[in-house]
Each structure stands twice: as structure tokens, then as C-alpha cells.
């Protein structure tokens, strides 16, 4: 077993952030590279939150995957209109940096992306926009109504949060095309594996994915608890 706590500034964030990595062992056998589960946490969580709540070391050992847990703070894992470029960091800068220095595979078939809560939404958008990032995705407890529901007007504080991430015009066609989960789902393609569990309107998202010919998905109305997430990942890896 090995557990790594990383603190550093990686492009394009260029801002000190944390990443927690659980590995089955310090080194893979025979000079091979680890398969990787990228695990995105919920809003406001630091990188070690999931490793405190869950036995990610055991998960790593049982699945033979390095479990990489970056933090996304309050970003929705998006390139923020008023903030940092989290989407580019998660999909580009961070994987590039870590693969350069640690024995982590970059092959699509060796990479998996799961997320919980805000991380579920982040994983979903990455699957839709950049399906080549991973072989399978898991979206747990995501708020798929983030841009289409009335929630954004639920309080001045929440509206402020939304404008910080997405800009002032939350109804703009450009934004909805780029970030609304329903529109993204309607255009989904080339996703070999997708787990959708829990979250608002997840059934509707699953229905949209079902209309695509080349998206293989599993839908469960329940399962947004972190424990369930890991159980489903283990089941998938078996």
C-alpha cells in the first residue's frame, strides 16, 4: 500500500492545490503502469475528504488501480468565469503532470472517472465533452438540473455562486449548449461505460443517453452514498 499527499501548483491553475493518491503498492510489478480511478469529490471538499470517509486504500488494493483524488472546491469542475480553469486542470494539466512523474497509465482503457455530488456532475460533463478521457464514468448524486431548474434562484448566495462559475447570463444559449447536462446527454456518443446513480432527474438523463447508439450505461435511482460508489466501481472492475 502507498498513500501520497501532493501539494503543488500545476498548470493551468497555477495555484497551490492538493491531490491525494492511494496506490496498491509503491511500485507496480515489472515496470508496468497503474490503472487509474480519478475520483472527484463533492463541493467544498479537500482532496483527502474521500480517503477519510472511505477505505480508498482497500479499494486501490482490491482493484489494482491508483485512486487519484483531486479537489475541486466550489468550482463544479468547470473553467470558471470568475475563478480558475478547473476543467482544463482536471482533464489536462493534472493528468499530464502526474503521468509524467508517477507510474500512471494514460491509455483510455486504463482510466476511469467517478465523482460524487459536485464531482458526479464534473465526471458527467467530462464524459460528454471528452469521452476519450476514460473507459468508464460514474456519476453519483449529481445535480443534473444545475442550469435548467429554479434552484439557481433559490437564494442570493446560490445565485452568486452560479454567476461566479458560469457568468452573469445563466440563460445564454452558449452556456446551455456547453454546460447543461440535458443538452450534453442528448448529444452523447462514444462512451463505453457509464454509471448513473442517484441525483436529481437522473432517470431523465439516463433516458437521453439511451437514445444514443454508442453509449453503454447503467442507471440506478439510488446510490449516491460514497460507499455505494466504491462498491459499484469494484463490481465494474470485476
Amino acid at each position: 500500500m502507498a498513500m501520497i499527499q501532493f501539494r503543488g501548483s500545476v498548470p493551468p491553475l497555477n495555484n497551490a492545490k492538493r491531490v491525494t493518491i492511494a496506490m496498491p503498492d509503491l511500485l507496480p510489478a515489472d515496470g508496468r503502469l497503474w490503472r487509474v480511478l480519478w475520483l472527484l469529490g463533492d463541493e467544498g471538499e479537500m482532496s483527502d475528504a474521500l480517503s477519510r470517509k472511505l477505505d480508498t486504500e482497500a479499494l486501490s488494493r482490491r482493484t489494482g488501480c491508483a485512486v487519484v483524488m483531486p479537489e475541486g472546491l466550489h468550482s463544479d469542475y468547470e473553467n470558471m468565469q470568475r475563478g480558475l480553469r478547473w476543467y482544463d486542470y482536471i482533464t489536462g494539466g493534472l493528468p499530464r503532470y502526474l503521468r509524467d512523474i508517477l507510474p500512471l497509465s494514460s491509455a483510455r482503457e486504463d482510466n476511469f472517472l467517478f465523482g460524487i455530488g459536485m464531482g458526479g456532475l464534473g465526471a458527467f460533463r467530462i464524459a460528454m465533452r471528452d469521452p476519450g478521457f476514460a473507459a468508464a464514468y460514474g456519476c453519483f448524486g449529481a445535480d443534473f438540473d444545475v442550469l435548467s431548474g429554479d434552484e439557481k434562484h433559490s437564494s442570493p448566495e446560490y445565485l452568486h455562486r452560479m454567476r461566479t462559475i458560469y457568468g452573469d447570463d445563466l440563460e445564454s444559449e452558449e452556456l446551455l449548449e456547453r454546460a447543461d447536462p440535458y443538452r450534453l446527454a442528448a448529444a452523447a456518443s462514444d462512451i463505453p461505460g457509464m454509471l448513473i446513480a442517484g441525483g436529481s432527474s437522473a432517470g431523465k438523463i439516463a433516458e437521453l443517453l439511451g437514445r444514443s447508439g454508442d453509449v453503454s450505461y447503467v442507471y440506478s435511482p439510488d446510490g449516491s452514498s460514497p460507499v455505494t460508489v466504491l462498491g459499484m466501481f469494484e463490481k465494474m472492475m470485476r
Partner: protein
Amino acid sequence: MSFFKVQFRSDVLSGEGEFGVFLPRNAQPPYKVLWLLHGAFGDFTESIQYTSVLMYAERRGMAVVAPSSYMGVYTDMVYGEKGYSFVKEVLEKAPKLFRCLSEKREDSYLMGISMGGHGTFKLAAEMPERFRGACGFSSPVDMVYTMSILEKGEHFGGHELFDAFGSSAAYSGTVGDVISNLKRDLREGRQLPRLALCWGDSDHAAPEDERVKEILDQLGVKFYSRVGPGGHEFDTWDPMMQEVLDYLMKEED
């Protein structure tokens, strides 16, 4: 610098071990590496917290790898953990985990603080082909001698050193008998790393380090030494670090 704290199941400890890795932001890999050994009873954060060694290393494009040696005495203890084997385990595995770390001799340097200097010279004498330079600060380089004065009651150390090293007789002739091993290296024509030893003018380690300097001078070993103002403390060592690093890294003359 980018910082990684690594905790892992160690083969030699039959338990968990840890080390820190600090990568420079201003250089391209493969990075030169400063292997940094902390003092007795500390851990890898000690020298990082109390000196500017990370800044000095980064200015020179070096990564820093700092293992936490058990009890920090850099020996496979008579009663205790295998502290020296653990450091060697990190030495072997860290560059395989962090592929950006150079393992070449010309890129590899050792620095030890206090007891870490014993570990530094021990590694330098055991594997001179692995390191280009090695420096200790206020260090009991010749632990066989240190144990002998401890046995006479003329050293401040306590029972924990007996637990670790046994006795001067028991430690003599082992991999930790640094002076004997340096003599052996010279006899065998092995190229020693560039060596340096610094201490404070009111340092309790000063007599031991002056003695080591005399021995190395007699052996004809090219050697850098400096005595700074102060005692056995980080305030004494930090101002000497950059000069020592520059000495260790300078081109052959």
C-alpha cells in the same frame, strides 16, 4: 516546490514508512537530487521546517528527497527498527516511483544534519559510485569513536544510542564503521564523492568533527570543511548550506 508526502508499506520495516519528495519548478527533468537526512529523533519535515534548504535546492534545479529514518540514527538498530535499510529502500524505490528523479552519480548528492551526517557518510562510504557529493553538518561521522567516548561517560548521548548501535566494538567493522570503510574505498581505488563537513564554533560536535577532519587530511582525502559561528542548531547550519552545495556541485578542478 511541488511537495509529495509518500506513506507506504515498507518491505524492510514490516510496517509503514514515509518520505517527502520536493520537485523544483524551475528545471526540467530528470532532476538532480539532494537526498536530505534529518537529525536524530526527528522526521523528514525537520530540516525543511527549520532551514531554507528547499529554496537553496530549487535555485540549483535540484529535487529534494527526504526519508523519515526511524529514530533518525541511520542504522539497523540492535534494539529497534532497521533505519539504515529503510533509507536504502527509499533510495532504491523513490526514483522508480518518481520517474523524474535522476539516479546518475553526477546528479546525486547527500546532505545530513547532525546524526543525518552519519547516515550521509555511511552511504557515501558504502556506495561511493552512487553519489557525486556528500556533506554533513555537525555530525558524528565516526560513530565507532562516538560510542567509545560514550562508553567512557564522556559524551552527552544516552541509552538510546546503545540500543541503536550496541557498543563501539559491536559497531566496528560494520557498514557503519565509516572511517574504516573510507580507507577501504581508497585502498580499492574507488572514487569517493566530494565530501564536506561543517560545524559550529560552540558546537558540542566540534571535537568529533575536528578529529574526522584530521583523519581525512591524513588520508589525503580532498575535503571541504567550515566552522561557522554558533552551536548545534539550525541557525548555525543554514547560512553554510548554499556554499557547501556549490562546492559539492562545482565542476571538477
